[in-house]
């Protein structure tokens, strides 16, 4: 394998695709931590240029981990539609970029080749794109799913109501749910991260959140984001759950550190289909985030974007209702500052849409990263323009349990107002019935923001 070019008369040579892919990435602290980043801006430019001439078959044949050693690789390779693959295998990565951006290429065209792509190819093309490329390309691709309502249609933006509480107090969580609903947050899911992963606690929160949904006949679904094994057990015992959640990693070893396997996820999917209280056909909810694999020493010497995209390849097996990266969640060791978080958020969203899954984003930052609420708001505006399916809704963006800041209940209505977007259709009707939403002006009404309306 020869991977070489000259820029300004100087030669840049890359040993193999793994090295090339690492160096073609935009600057990220996690890639430096892994020792795979370019050592200079000019080396990065050279790597992107060389990568643009690499054919897609080469990426197909060089996955992050060998087929026989990694079950995530097997899931991704086995899902490749060979008819689609033969159409594109001789394209270069650069050709794929220009083809996606071409005005003649539509959502339908992209859907036709989508199943011929592997995660490595998708990551590669993202590396050649600028931020605006990523927004434009993603805005072409719609992925529509359905659980109790419909996600992902053009012109819609949803919000996950995330009512976390430092002691899992059902009263406190309920109060936060009410606050969020009164701002029109909750159409993606009412999704609670529990402090206590025990079965009893998870069951209690499933019951409580389901009761709110039933009492107010809300077209949405509930979810308690405990470890998947706990949710499976709770559902087997009759607890009402809408979506089944799990965090994913992009390699088998990474997933082992999360205490999961493809077999376990297959089982969770079956249980979801059998016991979920929503009509479906989409029942799963996954979260991902660049850096999780490296943190578990499970990155096989590859860059964090490529591993991230492999999570989407894995997620696709389960036709998830929704997936989001929690970009910026882990900390500055993987994404150092607002600029890196913004870049990663745009890449994640585009790559997931190109993979063909329903993608939202937890646009967020931790207090040890160099970012703030302004940079997070910027990212969410960019992503909403890119057609992102949903964001988080956290009381004023401050999650006192997960100790990070995300989008707030106020952000979805603001984005809807700025970009002329609507809540999910069934939920929008409900908001109108509740008198919270003016469906003509696309604005919250004066009634909004008062959680006491849900207390009888």
């Amino acid at each position: 394998m020869l991977l070489r070019t000259k820029l300004f008369g100087k030669t840049y040579e890359f040993r193999d695709l793994r090295e090339l892919m690492g160096k073609a990435n935009e600057d990220k602290s996690g890639d430096h931590l892994a020792g795979v980043a370019a050592s200079s801006a000019i080396e990065r430019a050279a790597a992107k240029y060389v990568l643009s001439e690499a054919p897609l078959w080469a990426l197909y044949e060089n996955p992050v981990a060998p087929y026989d050693q990694d079950e995530v690789t097997r899931v991704i390779m086995d899902a490749v539609d060979q008819n689609a693959y033969v159409q594109i295998k001789t394209w270069t990565v650069g050709q794929l970029r220009e083809w996606i951006l071409d005005n003649k290429t539509t959502n339908d065209d992209i859907k036709k080749i989508q199943n011929g792509l592997t995660s490595e190819m998708i990551a590669a093309v993202a590396k050649l794109m600028s931020n605006m490329d990523l927004v434009l390309a993603a805005s072409k691709i719609r992925v529509v799913t359905h659980a109790n309502n419909t996600m992902g249609e053009m012109g819609r933006l949803a919000s996950r109501n995330q009512p976390n509480h430092p002691t899992d107090d059902p009263d406190g969580i309920r109060a936060e749910i009410y606050e969020g609903l009164s701002y029109g947050s909750g159409d993606s899911v009412i999704g609670i991260n529990p402090v206590d992963d025990s079965l009893a606690s998870v069951q209690r929160l499933l019951e409580m959140s389901y009761k709110v949904i039933q009492n107010w006949k809300i077209p949405t679904q509930n979810c308690v984001l405990a470890h998947v094994t706990t949710q499976m057990e709770a559902m087997k015992r009759g607890s009402p759950a809408g979506l089944v959640f799990q965090s994913l990693a992009g390699s088998q070893k990474g997933n082992e550190s999360f205490g999961i396997s493809v077999g376990m996820l297959d089982e969770a999917y079956e249980i979801a289909k059998k016991y979920s209280v929503v009509p479906g056909p989409n029942y799963m909810y996954f979260e991902t985030g660049e850096g999780a694999e490296l943190s578990a020493d499970a990155h096989h010497g590859w860059d964090q974007l490529t591993l991230e995209v492999r999570c989407y390849g894995l997620a696709k097996r389960y036709a998830p209702f929704q997936v989001n990266s929690v970009v910026g969640f882990i900390g500055p060791e993987y994404l150092y500052d607002a600029r890196q978080i913004t870049r990663a958020g745009l890449e994640d969203h585009f790559c997931a849409k190109l993979t063909g899954i329903s993608m939202g984003c937890d646009a967020c930052y931790t207090n040890h990263a160099r970012a703030d609420q302004n940079s997070l708001e910027n990212l969410s505006i960019l992503l909403a323009a890119a057609g992102c399916n949903y964001f988080m809704g956290v009381p004023m963006g401050d999650d006192p349990m997960l100790s990070y800041q995300s989008n707030s209940f106020h952000d979805a209505p603001s984005l809807r107002q700025i970009l002329k977007l609507r809540p999910l259709p069934e939920f929008e009707n409900w908001l109108v019935e509740m008198g919270l939403w003016d469906a003509e002006k696309l604005l919250l009404t004066d009634k909004a923001g008062d959680p006491t309306m849900f207390v009888r």
Binding site: L33, A175, G259, N367, S403, Q405, G449
Partner: protein
């Protein structure tokens, strides 16, 4: 241009509205104590909005049920009942948030009080991270003891105990200062009462959770337990976690560990957390497993 007359009219209207609403409700401005005598002389002497008075106040305009709103707000430390200006935040909540974000940065760089370590007889060692900045960017170094630390532990620690307990700053030394006094004795006494052989406790500067493995390569305990500072939340740096594992090996991962988290007064109460940790340790010893393995064994047993 707004005329002086218009300004006076606005001020009158605002004051009348404030009086109508009564004290402590729906206030978008903190400026209530000082009724401006003349708009021409600028005299801003504002109250401290970071006090609990301003945090617990409702900023919702025209709520129909002020008492219900207060009751809802009292159930959670989350920022609810904050109202809105259009779809955005009102002024005072916005400034409280900004102030909180500013002070949170300081918590990250705080060092532990040496007197506290003395009080609990904890000697101090360090990981391979040499300063806070390096610690933040190189989690791999926080999972390895420095050469000096290895030597010290070799010399000072009892080997092959049932339970090895140690403390680490992690991402918040303040969290250790906040909780150590409450939780440490509960764990120690609980384990002693259970007749378990305790290792020699110590303190590690710049530790990550994965350090459990490296520590056990020296002490070879059955269960290794660390009290460690969680990353600081907005304006809150007091939450600690206890992470633990059964016979951690060099390649053990988070799947092999268990955690009790959010420990502080206001979260998981430190005394109760201590008791819970002792229970966990007993279960680990009973089933000779931890993490997902322990969970699956126990779920299997309960069927």
């Amino acid at each position: 241009m707004i005329t002086q007359q218009q300004i006076d009219a606005i001020i009158d209207a605002v004051i009348a509205e404030l009086q109508r609403q009564g004290v402590g409700n729906e206030r978008g401005s903190a400026l209530h104590a000082i009724a401006p005598s003349h708009a021409s002389e600028l005299n801003l002497d504002l109250p401290d909005i970071t006090t609990s008075e301003y945090r617990t106040r409702s900023y919702v305009e025209n709520t129909r049920k002020p008492d219900v709103l207060r009751a809802l707000m009292s159930t959670t430390p989350s920022r609810i009942g904050i109202g809105h200006a259009g779809p955005r935040y009102r002024n005072i909540p916005q400034f409280i948030f900004l102030a909180d974000h500013a002070v949170t940065q300081d918590a990250l760089f705080k060092e532990i009080d040496p007197a506290l370590l003395q009080q609990f007889n904890l000697f101090q060692v360090q990981t391979q991270a040499s300063n806070r900045q390096e610690y933040l960017l190189r989690p791999d170094l926080g999972r390895k003891l420095s050469d000096a630390a290895r030597k010290t532990l070799q010399e000072k620690c009892v080997k092959n105990p049932d339970v090895q307990l140690y403390v680490s700053d992690g991402l918040s030394a303040a969290a250790i200062e906040h909780n150590l006094r409450d939780i440490f004795p509960v764990i120690q006494q609980g384990l002693q009462q259970a007749g378990l052989k305790m290792g020699t406790p110590f303190y590690v500067k710049y530790g990550r959770v994965g350090l459990l493995n490296d520590v056990n390569s020296i002490v070879d305990a059955k269960v290794v337990v660390t009290l460690i500072g969680e990353r600081p939340g907005l304006g809150r740096a007091e939450a600690a976690s206890v992470y633990m594992g059964y016979r951690p090996q060099p390649d053990s991962s988070d799947a092999d560990r268990d955690v009790v988290c959010n420990i502080f007064n206001g979260g998981t109460n430190p005394l109760e957390a201590g008791a819970y940790v002792v229970e966990y340790i007993k279960r680990m010893l009973k089933h000779q497993a931890s993490g997902i393995k322990l969970k699956l064994i126990e779920q299997g047993a309960s069927k």
